[in-house]
């Protein structure tokens, strides 16, 4: 019987192109929006890291008459309401926001993914309890919960990070649960169950890799919001160091002089806008690529 030899020929010219999650980011970079998004983020990350070393002045040095427009002593971006150099404060002002946003988002993501996966996999009372608990936290808008936390404990870095992580987690958990639910129903999970694979291994080895795409999209979305909330808190005057250089604080402080010296507020606005649009574009690029891959595969 030559069935064996004949069947080997099945490998010739396989119908679907090779597409895998490991290539998701690589493929996403074929889209302009992903590249532009990554470029924006990269520029601002570089500014945040290198900025303090190349700034012409320190963040709180008196340079020229307050609210001077650009030029002369006032520097390329002019001075702010206290006569400090806007350019220098811009170069100093990103690091805190970026670090806090990255750390709080990361904590929120890990918590949220863990909760979402457990909820999706158990499909029982635990699922209900977890999701109801998430509902309770989600009943508060992020900014409000952060405000309340700050009002109780004070505007310390860890308070803001915890507040944002705690409010990020339930939103991530919902998405993770939604993404994992159809995966849980698929037969390869049943196959590992019938082998007796441990629950932890099923969650981490079988489910998690299959929701990485949507979770990457969610991660960039959540980072966008975290940046927004941290900047907004600073804008409301609630940052760990109310007089320190911080993009959000700068906007608030220099808002009064918009008519005469717009650069004091406009510079940090542009920085925050580029940063959040960058993470937003990047996430959208990933989302589109993932959707495209799903289409190519046919609904599996």
């Amino acid at each position: 019987m030559s069935q064996t030899g004949q069947a080997l020929a099945e490998g010739v010219g396989t119908p679907t192109p090779p597409v895998r999650s490991s290539t998701l980011v690589t493929r996403a970079f074929r889209l302009w929006r992903t590249r532009i998004g990554a470029l924006f983020v990269l520029i601002l990350v570089v500014v945040a890291i290198v900025g303090p070393y190349v700034a012409p002045h320190t963040a709180s040095e008196f340079v020229a008459i307050p609210n001077s427009p650009p030029g002369g002593d006032a520097g390329v971006l002019g001075t702010d309401y206290l006569g400090q150099d806007v350019l220098s404060r811009f170069l100093y002002g990103g690091r805190g926001i970026l670090v806090m946003a990255a750390v709080s988002t990361a904590i929120g993501l890990v918590l949220g993914v863990a909760i979402g996966l457990v909820a999706a996999y158990t499909r029982n009372a635990l699922d209900d309890v977890l999701m109801r608990a998430m509902d309770v936290i989600m009943a508060f808008p992020q900014i409000m919960l952060a405000l309340v936390a700050v009002s109780l404990v004070g505007a310390q870095t860890w308070v803001i990070i915890v507040a944002i992580a705690v409010t990020t987690a339930p939103r991530v958990a919902r998405v993770a649960r939604g993404a994992a639910q159809p995966v849980v129903e698929r037969d390869f999970v049943a196959a590992t169950e019938s082998m007796g694979l441990s629950r932890v291994r099923i969650l981490t080895g079988e489910l998690l890799p299959n929701i990485l795409g949507p979770m990457m999209v969610e991660a960039s979305l959540r980072l966008t919001y975290s940046i927004g909330v941290i900047a907004a808190l600073a804008f409301l005057g609630l940052s760990p160091d109310p007089n320190g250089a911080n993009w959000g604080t700068m906007i608030q402080q220099n808002q009064i002089a918009l008519a005469t010296q717009p650069w004091g507020a406009l510079t940090p606005i542009i920085a925050i806008a580029l940063l959040t649009m960058g993470t937003g574009l990047f996430g959208d690029g990933i989302a589109r690529t993932a959707a495209g891959i799903d289409r190519e595969r046919g609904d599996e």
Binding site: E10, G13, E193, S194, M195, P209
Partner: protein, 605 residues
């Protein structure tokens, strides 16, 4: 009498210019049903939709003409085309569940097709709607018309689809696999409705299907499509008895038959996708009669007999071979007589609903036991209870003489290793993020059989045993065809040397030719490895090719249980008899066609 529809030289390509369907020409007379048969990706649905001047997203009709009467519908503007659709030419879709609008009552969906073409509003068409409902054997009660699609069964949904299609008394109706997914009994009644309505109203019909047997039951003339072209065209019985194209011949050989337990012969390889088709005959790479001339150019569709043509340069040599190519009779080893698996009084529930009522079964050593039933019969629940995937059951399942716990998780590692399960859909049963090697090697690690190089070596050997090569270990599932994926799933099940293999509808997601190859492989492995097997299927003829014993389930109870040959040849229970009678098969179809020919007036062309 002029043809109701005449298609000439139809060309369809992707919007980026890759040809998808080429050189399709045919005519259908009023009252005639023309069958179009092909496996997935052959372009059969695309051709069907082109008769309504429609191309799906990403495709466009690039050339040719579709004459309905004397009007070329491909030349019509949008508004004229709209008026033609649903009135002169209508369409019955493949999946009625997704083709009926879930948010609209069926009465509204039926009424709007009348209003769109005949005008009128309100209750103007009540009379006609009631009449149409009666024609498709549905209730004409106004409260029935107020139902939503999800409140109907699959068969009823498809009847609503038929009612909409026949409502305006079209000249041509395109039926796109309308019975896929329906149980055989429902399928039989839907088919007879189509047959009667087409004949009664002199409607020409194009019946698209992957199932040769279904087409043969309905159509006198059949076009076989492969890789976007018609490769053979002729009377149904001629195609089956003396195929002139090797593809048709192999396809016929791959169809399981109720009578005469023959082993099935699959077709190796798979059809080339658009853009990867060879310059010569598209079937050449898979053809056993391939000669260098085949690759030179695409063979023309040449006549090989009256009303019979084929796209093969060796057609004359192919035709006489047909019977000789059929598979050998199934050589089923006698069962050893000792029970390896015993089900006693098994009662299973889903929530509060009891879906299995006291099942008693015995699987003997080296035996293949087929579990057959329609949807909802409890066949899959039986299989899942055996594997411990369905937990909510009571009674006793014994492996050898050892009682099994209800869920796989609470069973011993050894009993989990002994019973392995293969799932219905190979697209869902492999983790898309794992390589074939990781998937197949997983049981070795979980059961502590082997690891490292030793495991890799075993995976390689196992892949070769399921007729893949060891090189497949590095691939991901999305780089494999459906048949290859199912082979990987089989390899994963067998690598831990189980004694019992539970196969749950393992071929239902596959094309006929691939199904045959998988069944062939399973049969061979069962004999070589001395496996016992539970083979769950809805496909009665398939049972003949693989199982020694068969158990017929209906609504959670065993209806009939016995030797396969005996049950199929001489069923004792009315349910089984009916099931067999409703199963379309080539033998009954061609016989019916011959009788039908005498009954039916000959259509002049």
């Amino acid at each position: 009498m002029p043809a109701a529809v005449s298609v000439r030289n139809l060309q369809i390509e992707t919007t980026s210019g890759v040809p998808v369907v080429m050189d399709v020409s045919f005519q259908i007379a009023p009252g005639e049903v023309l069958g179009v048969v092909g496996e997935s990706g052959s372009g059969k649905t695309t051709v069907g939709l082109a008769l309504l001047g429609h191309a799906r997203r990403g495709l466009r009709i690039a050339g040719g003409e579709v004459l309905v009467g004397d009007q070329d519908i491909l030349m019509l503007d949008v508004e004229h085309l709209r008026r033609l659709r649903g009135s002169t030419v209508s369409y019955v879709p493949q999946d009625p569940a997704s083709s009926l609008n879930p948010a609209l009552r069926i009465g509204i969906q039926l009424r709007e097709v009348l209003q769109a073409h005949a005008g009128g509003r309100g209750r103007d068409h009540d009379e006609r709607i009631a009449e149409t409902m009666r024609e498709v054997a549905l209730s004409d009660d106004p409260t029935y018309l107020r139902r939503y699609p999800h409140e109907l069964s699959g068969g009823q949904q498809q009847r609503v689809g038929l009612a909409m299609a026949f409502a305006n008394r079209p000249r041509l109706i395109v039926l796109d696999e309308p019975t896929t997914g329906l149980d055989v009994t429902t399928q039989a009644t839907v088919l007879s409705t189509v047959r009667e309505l087409a004949a009664a109203h002199n409607v020409a019909a194009l019946y698209v299907s992957h199932d040769l047997a279904v087409v043969a039951a309905l159509a006198r003339r059949v076009a076989v499509m492969y890789a976007g072209r018609v490769v053979e065209f002729g009377f149904a019985e001629e195609l089956f008895e003396s195929s002139a194209h090797p593809y048709t011949q192999r396809l016929v050989g791959a169809i399981p038959r109720l009578t005469g337990g023959r082993s099935l012969l699959g077709i190796p390889g798979h059809a080339p996708s658009p853009g990867r088709r060879p310059p010569g005959c598209a079937f050449a790479p898979r053809c056993t009669m391939h000669i260098p001339e085949c690759d030179a150019q695409i063979p023309p569709l040449s006549p090989v007999g009256p009303e019979h043509s084929a796209r093969c340069i060796r057609a004359v040599e192919v035709m006489p071979q047909t019977q000789a190519r059929a598979g050998d009779p199934v050589d089923v080893a006698p069962a050893a007589g000792s029970a390896v698996l015993t089900l006693e009084n098994v009662v299973a529930r889903y929530g509060k609903v009891e879906v299995l009522h006291s099942i008693n079964l015995q699987l003997e050593h080296h035996e293949c036991l087929a579990v057959v039933g329609e949807s909802g019969s409890g066949k899959t629940t039986t299989a899942r209870s055996i594997a411990g995937l369905h937990r909510d059951w009571t009674g006793s399942i014994r492996l050898g003489d050892k009682e099994l716990e209800t869920s796989a998780r609470s069973r011993s590692t050894e009993s989990r290793r002994q019973i392995q399960y293969i799932f219905q859909n190979p697209y869902g049963s492999l983790n898309p993020r794992k390589t074939v090697g990781e998937t197949v090697g997983q049981p070795l690690a979980v059961f502590g059989i082997a690891k490292g190089r030793e495991a890799d070596h075993r995976v390689g050997l196992m892949l070769e045993q399921v007729s893949l090569s060891a090189a497949y270990a590095r691939r991901y599932p999305d780089q494999l065809s459906g048949g290859e994926r199912q082979r990987v799933a089989i390899a994963r099940a067998l690598i831990s040397s189980p004694s019992i293999l539970v196969c749950d509808e393992v071929t239902s997601a596959l094309d006929v030719s691939v199904q045959a190859a998988i069944v062939e492989l399973l049969g061979q492995l069962q004999r070589d490895l001395g496996l016992s097997m539970v083979f769950v299927t809805h496909n009665l003829p398939l049972v003949r090719s693989i199982a020694q014993k068969v158990v017929v389930l209906s609504e959670g109870s065993i209806v009939e249980y016995g030797e396969t040959a005996q049950v199929l040849a001489d069923p004792q229970q009315p349910y089984t008899q009916q099931l067999i009678a409703h199963t379309p098969s080539l033998e009954t179809a061609t016989a019916e066609a011959r009788v039908g020919e005498q009954r039916r007036p000959v259509i002049e062309r």
